[in-house]
């Protein structure tokens, strides 16, 4: 009696296992849904997911898109009440990721696709990896500026008095990162920002406002991210973008997986895709500089190998960020 029962059980189990594995072997083994929190523009996310789904049609991606600061606040609040809904995070700068990493929120994952990506754009513990390069440089209005600036230091010149505009590090993570790097670069430092203040530089909330003001000629010259300026130029706005002689501070729009994810396999597949050559070519098509060596940058932008990078130890930057923001706000008050 007992033996018979065991035999039946074993048979059923075997049948189930074989049925399961047979079914899985047929199609893409990855099926399910992941949730992505991101600060990428809508258009880019849509394109990215469409391309991803061509490769993994079984993985649905639910997207929450907002500003980097909003996304990070949301995810930190979720963490506090132990209800993180995101599986994958993709936001503007690595300092945000460093902070989340410190709070133990990120999963370490050595993606096979990181080869070709310069080490300086990767986390040494592999909890996140850069997905593209967004450098910061100088934009100027071609109808208003006779002698174009070549370096950040040129902005301190008398010629640009009352005519400068820059994004506020208090409101944009990218700008806060730039502040950290630039104040630690030889030839710039805090003196550079003091000179900007003396030149009566207007401080705005985001890069969009910089583009608007310079394109409209309200200010002749500004500090801005590369792709926005180049896109505006390509579509006919009277602006030009300059890679500064001192080097380009770059944010990398890193991607990382949350420790709390219930679908690590699917999340990893998504990260792999973004970092793969295919994903990097897609980034170039969208108008960004790919972070992978060998994938060509779009028209008007330099490729990763040609960019003179301006970097600094991320942990130092992270530790100093709040104090620097306070110093900046006191200076520009």
């Amino acid at each position: 009696m007992n033996l018979r029962r065991i035999a039946v059980c074993a048979l059923v189990t075997m049948f189930l296992i074989s049925a399961f594995t047979a079914g899985a072997a047929e199609a893409d083994p990855l099926k399910g849904r992941i949730t992505l929190y991101t600060s990428q523009p809508d258009r880019d996310v849509t394109q990215l997911i469409a391309a991803f789904n061509e490769k993994h049609p079984g993985i649905g991606v639910d997207v929450f898109r907002s500003g980097t600061e909003e996304v990070v606040s949301k995810i930190r609040a979720e963490h506090r009440v132990r209800s993180v809904l995101a599986d994958v995070l993709l936001v503007a700068d690595s300092v945000s990721f460093e902070n989340l990493k410190e709070e133990g929120m990120l999963l370490a994952y050595e993606s096979p696709e990181v080869k070709g990506i310069p080490e300086e754009y990767l986390d040494k513990d592999r909890t996140y990896a850069g997905t593209k390069l967004i450098t910061t440089g100088i934009i100027y209005n071609t109808t208003k500026v006779a002698e174009p600036p070549e370096a950040f230091a040129d902005l301190a010149k008398e010629a640009f008095k009352n005519n400068l505009i820059m994004p506020s590090p208090l409101y944009s993570g990218a700008a806060a990162y730039n502040l950290g790097v630039m104040t630690r670069t030889e030839g710039l430092g805090w003196e550079f920002f003091e000179k900007l203040k003396e030149n009566n530089t207007r401080v705005e909330r985001g890069n969009g406002a910089i583009l608007t003001a310079v394109a409209a000629g309200e200010r002749s010259c500004g500090i801005i991210v590369d792709f926005m300026a180049v896109r505006a130029r390509e579509s006919g706005s009277p602006v030009e973008f300059v890679y500064p002689a001192e080097g380009s501070p770059a944010i990398t729009e890193p991607i990382g997986i949350l420790q709390t994810t219930r679908v690590p396999g699917l999340a990893k597949a998504f990260v792999d895709f973004v970092l793969s050559e295919e994903g990097q070519k897609l980034a170039a098509e969208m108008g960004y500089t790919p972070v992978k060596d060998g994938v060509e940058a779009p028209k008007g932008l330099k490729s990763v190998g040609e960019i003179k990078s301006m970097v600094y130890d991320i942990e130092v930057l992270k530790a100093a960020r709040e104090a620097e923001k306070a110093r900046f706000s006191a200076m520009f008050q």
Binding site: F64, S66, E70, A77, S83, N162, G217, S237, E322, Q333
Partner: protein, 583 residues
């Protein structure tokens, strides 16, 4: 008999207890979480965050600026809002519909568009400032305290206007006639009767505009950040998005400070309302009460319309022109204008979904607000119910707290509102509806309270004495009398909920989008023309809804007239208590 009274008594008690519990759970608990967060330290609780922040120069500066901006722009909007309301409600002006539409425009146009358009007009190298300096005058710089106050004031005039106009119309003409018969002049009557009776409405309009001003983020973010003028709302945002263990606590501390300002404002309002006389009347009376002589009328009318045109049409034009720019920032010449942006928008399935989602959410929030807000108003005015008063106060606080902090408090609260209870609301769209109700309920309560104040309790008492049940009293007396003013204030809830940005930018569920979030995305991607086009579409939607509402109103009025013709012979209910004028 005894049994049914017993049941009714305990039924009422249970209902009231349930109401109190719901009020506590939905409105007070998130605020308490905030308070708790502000005193949370690394180990245990304490006031160290308060001590540290209050010791900072920047905090004091932010509080001072917030007070200056709040008080000045409220004075500005009260002055203009009440004046417009007075003229439109009473004077024999023509084109009143047009005037009203113009007055309400800033409420419909998103405030970031208004801000953008004014900075465009007063840009440093712009025509207006060039003209001013060539005339030897100082150029206007909107990136200043004055500029912030001006734009805030412009944006809050409609709030005061809506509330005051409804009140003025409900002051019975009989009262005026009585006063004139007693020998007072028209002017004295207006001052002593109408203005005195309208004072609580002016005060509650003022307090709403004060609350709307101190928590507003987009205007000071635009005008104040670049010129180094911190106010509490922008300062709170800076703290909330900062890192470090104390960032949430700091934001909470500053929110508590802001709440104190708000409470101060509501206390001031309470002072005025308590001093105001009671008022009993039913329905709005749109008859003309001030006959201006022809020339004065024309003068007043055209000054008002002219002023409104320049001040309120300009942002509208700016928005449509920006929406039609091929390349943003390249001027408004004909060859740079196109309708392609609108075409792109309407072809975008995501945009259409966002519009549907927002309308649905705003509609749901509006419906809940109407029911809860009117119930609270009834309990407050008729039953002097404590829970209803607490509800009103906490709703006012929820309205005054900056969106980002309220959004975070909503996450902290709604993931686990009671220990062990996880309703799973967070992460779905329901959380946004809850958040909108939390944020905008106070607007409905104020509107419903004003409406309730004008319904004579004697009417209900008479009905009850005549043997009508509770339900019959509501259906036959309260609902018909309250419907119009209550729906009018529901408009004040619906519009901002439909275009809401800050709460949506944090609480939206993955895979869903609202109108505000769509505009935000376009802006962040640098697609300013698309953002403007989206806002323009929203404005058109609202204007369409407004037009439909007007048509409905006309239709109902015609129906009513027909009905009235039939019941002309019926007895009139006395609308004014004989002693009303004496109080």
């Amino acid at each position: 008999m005894h049994d049914s009274r017993f049941i009714r008594y305990y039924g009422n008690r249970i209902l009231q207890a349930f109401f109190c519990f719901a009020v506590f759970l939905v409105f007070l608990a998130p605020l308490l979480r905030l308070l708790l967060m502000s005193v949370t330290e690394d180990a245990g609780y304490g006031f160290s965050h308060y001590a540290r922040l209050l010791g900072e120069e920047r905090t004091r500066l932010a509080v001072r600026n917030t007070l200056i901006v709040g008080a000045s722009s409220t004075a500005f909007s009260m002055l203009f809002g009440a004046t417009f309301a007075f003229l439109v409600a009473y004077a024999n002006l023509k084109r009143r519909r047009l005037a009203e539409l113009l007055i309400l425009l800033p409420f419909i146009i998103p405030s970031y568009i208004i801000t953008l358009s004014w900075t465009g007009i007063f840009s440093e190298n712009g025509a207006v400032n060039g003209w001013l300096s060539s005339a030897g005058l100082a150029p206007v710089n909107l990136y200043s305290l004055g500029g912030i106050i001006f734009v805030h004031g412009m944006c809050t005039i409609p709030i005061v206007y809506m509330i005051v106009k409804a009140m003025l119309r409900r002051i019975p003409v009989d009262l005026e006639e009585a006063s004139m018969a007693a020998g007072y002049s028209r002017r004295q009557t207006m001052l002593r009767i109408n203005l005195a009776l309208a004072a609580p409405a002016v005060a509650s309009g003022g307090i709403l505009s004060f609350l709307a001003t101190i928590d507003n983020f987009s205007i000071p973010a635009f005008l104040g950040i670049s010129s180094g003028i911190p106010v509490l709302s922008t300062y709170i945002y800076e703290k909330a998005i900062g890192f470090g263990p104390s960032s949430f606590s700091d934001a909470a501390v500053l929110s508590v400070l802001l709440s104190l300002l708000a409470v101060g404002g509501t206390l001031l309002e309470g002072f005025f309302v308590r001093r105001s006389p009671g008022l009993e009347s039913t329905g709005e009376d749109a008859s003309i009460r001030i006959e201006l002589p022809r020339r004065t009328r024309a003068w007043v009318e055209w000054t008002m319309l002219g002023g409104l045109m320049t001040f309120n049409i300009v942002p509208l034009l700016f928005m449509f022109l920006s929406a039609m720019q091929k390349r943003y920032g390249l001027g408004y010449a004909a060859d740079n204008l196109t309708v392609a942006n609108f075409r792109d928008l309407l072809a975008n399935a995501g945009v259409l979904r966002a519009v549907r989602t927002s309308i649905l959410l705003a509609g749901a929030a509006c419906a809940v607000c109407i029911v809860v807000g009117t119930a609270a108003a009834y309990l407050k005015i008729r039953k002097n119910n404590k829970a209803a008063k607490i509800l009103e106060k906490s709703a006012a606080l929820a309205y005054a707290i900056p969106g980002i902090v309220l959004a975070l408090a909503m996450i902290f609260h709604w993931v686990e509102p009671l220990p062990g209870v996880r309703p799973g609301i967070y992460g779905t769209m329901t959380i946004l509806a809850v958040a909108y109700v939390t944020r905008y309920l106070v607007l409905q309560i104020k509107g419903s309270v004003n409406a309730m104040l004008t319904v004579e309790p004697a009417l209900e008492e008479a009905a009850v004495a005549g043997g009508s049940g509770k339900i019959a009293v509501w259906v036959k007396i309260l609902l018909p009398l309250l419907a119009k003013p209550v729906l009018a204030s529901a408009f004040l809830v619906f519009i901002p909920a439909m275009t809401e940005l800050t709460l949506s930018s944090i609480l939206s569920a993955a895979g869903t989008k609202t109108i505000g979030l769509t505009v935000f995305s376009f802006q962040q991607a640098g697609d300013y023309s698309l953002a403007a086009a989206m806002s323009a579409v929203v404005v058109l939607l609202v204007l369409g809804a407004y037009g439909t509402a007007l048509l409905c109103k006309k239709f109902f009025e015609r129906q009513k007239e027909k009905k009235n013709d039939r019941t002309e012979a019926g007895a009139h209910i006395p609308l004014v208590r004989p002693d009303a004028g004496a109080r």
